[in-house]
């Protein structure tokens, strides 16, 4: 009883520290977003006169920098969905070919892709700008989507390949005996069994695109083609940023990915393959 109580207390302590660490910035975000603009730096734990005016300003595009907010939100959604789809398309096919079809040097290719992460993304900004210019993609949302896909796909391939390895090969062989082609095995066996990993990787890619700043401002020019983080950037370098409005904007922008995470959370757990094969 004593030992269990101590163990429980230890877990509780760690949980409190982690919760505080995680929630304090979000709490600050919330508090400042509810603070009147003229009290931005009041430094209160809770505003004296909490207000929703900052949210109204954002939702009604009531500030000059927010003129295209909803348009930019649509661009963010589009970029996130397309990046997610592209990354999944590439990663699923690559992991299947490398992991299940056992192509020569597949493992080397998979590991080489990870080398992308040895070079900081910022160092590749200029080459990317040049490449997008050559393909006439500058100032197109597709330039940003392709850039983010490039940085996200190697990790996605690696994760799906590792996850795919846990799927029993006997299932492929059983399907082959039943006459399934490799493509049918991919659709009917492989993809259904790696769905949890796909959801996790899809969310990762989606969030990567959702939060992308460097390549977004670098490759996009027109305000109506920009994503929300660039509009947030206007405030960061302004002389008198209304921080409560910026915080409200940040909070609103963080809601879709948060909702997405909680809606797919149950799929994140692995183990869907258990019982798939008789041992």
């Amino acid at each position: 009883m004593g030992h269990k109580a101590i163990q429980y207390a230890q877990f509780a302590l760690i949980a409190i520290v982690v919760m505080t660490w995680t929630l304090t910035p979000i709490y600050h975000l919330l508090v400042v977003s509810l603070t009147p603009v003229q009290d931005s730096f009041a430094g209160k734990l809770w505003p004296d006169r909490p207000t929703l005016d900052n949210y109204v300003t954002v939702l009604t595009q009531g500030d000059y920098y927010l003129t295209n907010f909803w348009r930019q939100m649509a661009n963010s959604i589009f970029a996130a969905i397309m990046t997610c789809a592209l990354v999944l398309f590439i990663a699923v096919l690559a992991s299947y070919v490398i992991g299940r079809m056992r192509v020569r040097f597949g493992g080397v290719v998979s590991n080489l892709a990870l080398l992308t992460y040895l070079i900081p993304a910022a160092f590749l900004a200029i080459p990317f700008y040049q490449v997008m210019g050559v393909y006439q993609l500058l100032d197109s949302i597709w330039a940003m989507i392709l850039a983010v896909t490039t940085f996200t796909a190697p990790y996605a391939i690696w994760v799906l390949r590792q996850y795919g390895d846990s799927v029993p090969r006997e299932l492929d062989e059983a399907a082959k005996i039943d006459g399934a082609t490799p493509l049918q095995i991919l659709y009917m066996v492989y993809i259904p069994l790696i769905t949890p990993a796909m959801i996790a990787i899809g969310s990762f890619a989606l969030l990567h695109a959702w939060n992308e700043y460097l390549y977004a401002f670098l490759l996009l020019n027109d305000e109506t083609r920009m994503t929300v983080p660039i509009a947030l950037g206007y405030y960061a370098s302004d002389d008198d940023s209304p921080w409560p409005v910026v915080m409200a904007m940040g909070l609103i922008y963080s809601l879709p990915p948060a909702l997405l995470y909680y809606s797919v959370r149950k799929y994140m757990a692995s183990g869907l393959t258990s019982g798939g094969v008789k041992s």
């Binding site: 003229q38 040049q130 206007y234 960061a236 002389d239 008198d240 940023s241 921080w243």
Partner: protein, 445 residues
């Protein structure tokens, strides 16, 4: 499956909103204004140019830091915009770009209208091209700025003082706000610090401020002939003294502690929120922001003034930075860029654009100053700026003397030096040694 199809359809519809632009005759990247009037005035000038020439232009607005990064990337990639403006070009980039032969010579745009510009503004864009070994006008002067002082008159009076109590001597001036007004204002119920001077590397303001201090203490880092003087014993003594005086208020808790991390706008917000009494800022952005929020506060509660007299009793000159518009030799439409500049520089175009900034910037064309907008004594801020520019000596920042100093700004080594003292606890001497060593290296490149 149906859900997926709906999602895909929605994505395609949204995607159709984002069709890339067709190729243009003129591409302009400009810093986004803080007021809609600024950007609309530029767009109006573009409209005039389009109707006069029958050509099409695309104007894109970015945050100040972003436009610089974008231009650097596009320049390296060989496809820079045809025309661009950022507040950082003159301080950190133009001298280097001109030396490397990257900038278009704007003499044919400027010389026919040279009499319309202040000589100092034209001098500031008369840069050295290392390829040809000759100087020429490699940028177009757009606006100019000098650091001002703003203070809360209303809080000063709440603390039991009047404006006539403010000393006009350097040391006494800062002691007054830190040692007299700050405690009295706190006793009167204001949670306030005396001074609002920054110490971070992420803002240009500390760079401007420290140069005002250096000048006040007679320190000359770069001689007008471009020679680096930082290692001369006499200059070292003065520079160290200026640095010590600059960080003293922070050490004495007369500056908000977060000043060590302030971005370019954080000092403004802190002052506007009455968290410090005295603000030092290179434009009138603070009064402009207050005017938008509450014209009564603008007129009656805050004041703008020039710097106090230097410690030796001499008057403190206005250190001026002239902001520049540039075009690159690798730009696709150089002649269109020049053609547009000829339209933009017409007083009927540039005048409203500068007024659209609510007076944040001082024009570089004297004719534009013959306007009550600048000369009305009833305006306690714009008129104070007008007087500061016209009644005190104007001197440039050191980058005007040496292109190498642009690298000093680009690396923000003055901000790093301040951070060494206030954040890392280094002695001023030690921070000076690191600063001098790096600056010497940059000048040797």
């Amino acid at each position: 499956m149906r859900r997926l199809a709906t999602l895909a359809l929605a994505a395609i519809v949204l995607g159709s909103l984002s069709v890339p632009a067709l190729s243009q005759d003129l591409t302009i990247w400009w810093v986004k204004g803080t007021n809609i009037e600024e950007d609309e005035a530029l767009k109006a000038a573009v409209g005039t140019w389009e109707s006069e020439t029958g050509k099409k232009a695309e104007v894109s607005f970015f945050a100040n830091n972003d436009v610089t990064t974008k231009v650097l990337a596009s320049l390296k990639a060989g496809s820079p915009p045809d025309l661009t403006f950022s507040f950082d070009y003159d301080l950190a980039f133009s001298p280097t770009w001109a030396y490397d032969g990257d900038l278009v010579d704007m003499s044919d745009v400027l010389m026919p209208i040279r009499d319309e510009f202040q000589k100092s503004a034209l001098d500031s864009v008369y840069l050295l091209n290392g390829t040809t070994g000759k100087r020429s006008h490699y940028a177009v002067p757009w606006v100019q700025m000098t650091p001002h002082i703003h203070y809360w008159k209303s809080i000063l009076e709440d603390a039991g003082f009047t404006e006539s109590d403010i000393p006009d001597q350097w040391v006494e001036f800062f002691h007054f706000w830190c040692d007299d007004v700050q405690p009295a204002a706190r006793e009167a119920g204001h949670r306030v610090f005396g001074l609002g001077q920054g110490y971070s590397t992420v803002s240009n303001d500390p760079f401007f401020n420290i140069h005002i201090w250096l000048n006040a203490y007679g320190a000359q880092v770069v001689a007008p002939d471009g020679t680096l003087r930082i290692n001369e014993p006499e200059q070292k003594e003065r520079i160290v003294r200026a640095m010590e005086e600059y960080v003293r208020p922070m050490k004495n808790k007369c500056v908000p502690p977060d000043a060590a991390n302030w971005t370019g706008g954080d000092d403004n917000v802190s002052f506007i929120n009455r968290k410090h009494l005295v603000e030092m800022n290179p434009t009138l952005s603070v009064p402009a922001a207050i005017k938008k929020a509450d014209p009564n506060v603008y007129l009656n509660e805050i004041r703008t003034r020039p710097w106090p007299k230097a410690p030796d009793g001499s008057s403190t000159p206005a250190m001026v930075s002239v902001k520049q518009v540039v075009s690159f030799t690798s730009s696709a439409n150089i002649e269109n860029a020049k053609s547009f500049l000829r339209v933009l520089l017409r007083p009927e175009n540039i005048g409203p654009m500068l007024k659209g900034t609510l007076g944040r910037w001082m024009p570089v064309m004297p004719a534009l100053l013959d306007d009550p907008f600048y000369t009305d004594p009833a305006d306690p801020h714009i008129y104070a700026m007008y007087r500061q520019f016209t009644e005190t000596e104007n001197i440039p920042f050191p980058h005007a003397y040496s292109r190498h100093y642009a690298k000093v700004m680009a690396e923000r080594i003055w901000g790093k030096m301040l951070g060494r003292i206030v954040l890392d606890g280094w002695t001023t001497e030690r921070a000076y040694d690191e600063l001098a060593e790096r600056m010497t290296e940059l000048f040797a490149e």
